[in-house]
Symmetry: C2
Subunit: 210 residues, 2 copies
Amino acid sequence: MEKISDVTIQPCSSTPYIKPLRITYTQDGVKKIWDAMKVHDSVCVLLYNKSRDCFVFVRQFRPAVYINSVVTEKQADGTETVDSAKYPGTLGLSYECCAGIVDKDCSLVEIAKMEVLEECGYDVPLENIQKITSYKSGTGVSGAMDHLFCAEVTDVMKTGPGGGLKEEGELIDLIEIPLRESRKWLFDEAINKDGELILSVLWFYDHYGK
Amino acid sequence: MEKISDVTIQPCSSTPYIKPLRITYTQDGVKKIWDAMKVHDSVCVLLYNKSRDCFVFVRQFRPAVYINSVVTEKQADGTETVDSAKYPGTLGLSYECCAGIVDKDCSLVEIAKMEVLEECGYDVPLENIQKITSYKSGTGVSGAMDHLFCAEVTDVMKTGPGGGLKEEGELIDLIEIPLRESRKWLFDEAINKDGELILSVLWFYDHYGK
C-alpha cells in the first residue's frame, strides 16, 4: 500500500480528469471572471458496524495528499521529483468514509449500497442506509454535490473482502475504529482525514446522542 | 448581490487559479498516474455571537455553485451560456463560514482574526478564537489543508461593516442564524451550504453539548 517511489510532478494543460473552465458573468452591473472546474457529484457513506460497535473506514494512498505533505525538487526539465526515501508513502495515506462518484443511472442510495459492497465487503439492505445530508463541496472551485449517508451493518452482512475494484487499480485497506475511541482519533491531526469523515462522525454523535 | 446575467462558460487550459498537475509514481511495484492540482491551504472561522445567541455566516454568489445548478446551452462557437432569466442568481448563493486562504506570513489564528474583521466586521481578541481541527480537503484532487476555528464574539466587538475587501471585488452579505433555529436550518438542503459550515456547527453542538 504505502511503498511509493519514482514520484514525478509536471504541469499539464489537458487532462481527462480536471477540466478548467472560465466563467464570465455580470453581477450587479459589474463584469466578472471566475475559473472553476466540473467534477462529478459524489456519495459518501459512514459505516457503523453494530456487532462490534465500531466505525469502518477506508484508507488509501492519495497522490494529492502526498505531494502536499512533501518538499519537491525541481529538475532541469521542469518536472519536480520527490525523495521517497526521505518522504515515505505513509504521508499520503488518507482515512475516509467509503465513497464513490455519481456516474450510474440509479438512485443515490443504491450507489451508496454498491460502494459499501465494493470497498468494504458488506451487503447492506437499503433500509439500513439513512441520509445524513447533501451539500455543496468546494464552493470556490467545483460546486459539486456531496451526498452523505450512514449505513448500519452487522458482521452477518460481511459477504466479501472489499478493497475496491482491482481492475480499476483500487487499493483500499479497511480500518475499524471503536466508537468509544473515535472522538480522540477524530481530532488527532497527525492522522490524515477528509472533511466528509469528520462531518459524518460528528453527525453520528449528534444524532445518536453519543 | 444576486443580479446575475451574461453568463458564459468556456474551457481554458491555462489559468492562474487552477493549475492541473500530472503526478506519476510507483505503488507496490505498479506504475500509476494521477491528475491533481495545487490550491492554497485555507482558514475557516465559525463565528458565534454570544450577545444575541446566533451564528454569523457569510453569503456570496459562487459561480461554480451556480453553473452546477443550471442547464447550460451550447453555442456554435463552443462556449456555453445560461439563461439567467430562467435560472436566477439566487441559485448560486452559498452560505459559508467566514474564510480565507493562507497566503500571509503570520500564524493561522492571526489570519482567522483578520478574515473575521474583513468579512464580518468583528474585532475579536485572539484568545476568543479556538481551534476546531485541521484536515485534508478534497483528497482526490487537491489535498490542501483546511484549518477550522471557532470565534466567540459580542456586539461590542462589532467595529466595522464587514462585507469583504471592495478593492478585491468581494461582495459578501452577513447572515445571522439563531442557535435555537440552527439545527433545522443546517439540514435544510434547499439552502446551499458548504461542508466546512456543517462540520463546524456540528462540532459546536458536540463541544458545548447543545
